[in-house]
Amino acid sequence: MTLLDFTILTAKVVLVMSVLLSTVPILVWVERRGSAFIQDRLGPNLVGPFGLLQPLADVIKFLFKEDPIPLEAHRFLFPLAPLFSLIPAAVTFAAIPFGDTIELWDHTISLQIADINIGILYIVAFGSLGIYGILLAGWASNNKYSILGALRSSAQMISYEIVLGASLIGPLMVYGTFSLKEIVHLQAGHWGVVFQPLAFITFFIAAFAECNRLPFDLPEGEAELVAGFHTEYGSMKFALFFMAEYLHMITISALTVTLFFGGWQLIPGLMSLAQGLGFAVYPTSLILSLLQMLSFSLKVGVFLWIFIWVRWTFPRFRYDQLMAFGWKILIPVALMNIFLTTLAIYLKWI
Amino acid sequence: MVGYSHYLILSAVLFTIGVFGVLLRRNLIIIFMSIELMLNSVNLSLVAISKFTQSADGQIFVFFVITVAAVEAAVGLAIIISLFRHKQTTAIDEINLMKG
């Protein structure tokens, strides 16, 4: 591991982390204005042009507000719980490729922080560590509503994690590899959703439950359980939970795009558009990498908008409906998908 | 230079800490967690052996140990829950109904 490798790795990490952390305020703004648009009202529009500086105002508010810690809360676990939520959500992005390779000073840099050959397993593993943030937050708050919300939320997350894992087996069988870089390369002809539509549907629905977003957000529903597991959390700690939720949304959208929608493969038509505008696009040029990153960002943006759209459109599931849906409907559908995929591979349709 | 024996010594240390927990704690759940720690120390030595003798059988063994540990944790915790419903305590000294 030479110094140059180390510098390139650090640069990639810094780039990805800064893009992620700066997407969160943009997402907050899109959510507030987008929800206002759906609900036929204006959103925040006073702070900057079109309310664009609203997230900045939110950050300043979070920094200066009082950070309460309840008297009987557990001294060690209460501050630790938001970190347990934030770190897995941030770290999972390391395995997701956002572009092909770049050639710089005859050094091939792949636009992915870590090309782990167990990419999908790594993401599932760290996704399952996110449950601790919720459990420990609920328990350490020493508050009935928190603990109820935490128990419900973690039971929901565990059940839908099973759906997530089971729905990933179909694409795994089709692609034959765990490594996300290989998977994106294999989608050069047709995007993955053409081969695995059922897996995409179950995966996307489970993604909503994993991120605790409506229609699965009973645990943190505002009208139901005060605020669920983050009732007792004040300014900066609440901001960490908030950030963790949006980061988790971004990661799951990026994973959906990578597995089912071609990852950084160019949106059809983009290449001819760029060539029409006069850019010379040849393999491993910088322009191609930029186009790939742009395609990736646009696709992730579409899915993030779908997340926000669904949130402000549907009502909430009741808890028993939610668990019945996960266990009695989605898991059999995911298993059926595995069976159908096996049949298709055996009969050489795929 | 970290070699074979380093991993095995680490496994031995973890095993001893697990034994420490099982023998000297009174709380049932912490005893159970110490048992899991002992199982993990054995897993570590199996993986080290698998690497240094270049055979994948060690890793398969670890796979099965992890699965069996999951099974044991589930059933054990179910037993603890039903015990707790009877006796309202998790101290093992109190569970002495069958004592002669």
């Binding site: 591991m1 557990h74 676990l77 167990i118 397993l121 599932v124 593993a125 760290f126 560590l129 449950i131 459990l135 420990l136 328990w139 039971a155 565990i158 994690e161 | 970290v2 070699g3 074979y4 991993y7 010594i9 680490l10 031995a12 973890l14 034994v19 000297l24 704690r25 009174r26 709380n27 759940i29 912490i30 967690m33 110490s34 899991e36 720690l37 993990n40 897993n43 993986v47 698998s50 690497k51 240094f52 270049q54 994948a56 890793q59 398969i60 796979f63 099965f64 992890i66 699965t67 069996v68 999951a70 099974v71 044991e72 944790a73 589930a74 059933v75 179910a78 603890i80 829950i81 998790t90």
Partner: protein, 164 residues
């Protein structure tokens, strides 16, 4: 060189978290320390070129078994009784001496064995494909038995913990 540094950092973390499991009075904090220990162990598996097992360790142990532990602790509302034996029995010294002797015995036995000299850095890790081929060919029967065992655990857990 990196392997050594990572080994020392992760092993100190692992032993520290294991000691934390055993020393804490509160079971939930013990569980958190145990999760830390498992994640450190997963890092050690990665150091030993076993990526599949590292991921499985985190998914199953840290992500499912320990969540089950924390769930049970939250459902049971434990008023942690004073661990009288551990803290307040005298004499304290003999138990530590005995455990120290145990560790010393194990370490001496390990260091005295002449393990065949392997060349660690050239040792190949095992990819998921190799592990899977072995699992489904040579060890197919235990694999199927394990699935039966999991079914038994599922039924047993429900039967034992059900309210009458």
């Amino acid at each position: 060189m990196w392997h050594n540094i990572i080994f020392w950092i992760l092993s100190i973390l692992c032993v520290g978290c294991a000691l934390g499991v055993v020393w804490q009075r509160n079971p939930v904090v013990s569980a958190v320390f145990l999760v830390g220990s498992f994640v450190a162990l997963a890092g050690l598996y990665l150091n030993l070129n076993a990526p599949f097992l590292a991921a499985i360790q985190i998914i199953i142990y840290a992500g499912a078994i320990m969540v089950l532990f924390v769930f049970v602790m939250m459902l049971l509302d434990l008023h942690h009784p004073l661990d009288l034996y551990f803290r307040f029995t005298k004499p304290k010294l003999p138990k530590y001496i005995v455990l120290g002797l145990f560790i010393w015995l194990l370490c001496t036995l390990i260091l005295a064995t002449a393990f065949p000299l392997a060349i660690p850095d050239k040792a190949q890790g095992f990819t998921v494909a190799q592990v899977a081929i072995l699992l489904f060919s040579k060890y197919a029967f235990p694999f199927e038995l394990t699935s039966l065992l999991l079914l038994i655990a599922l039924v047993g857990g429900v039967v034992l913990a059900k309210k009458k």
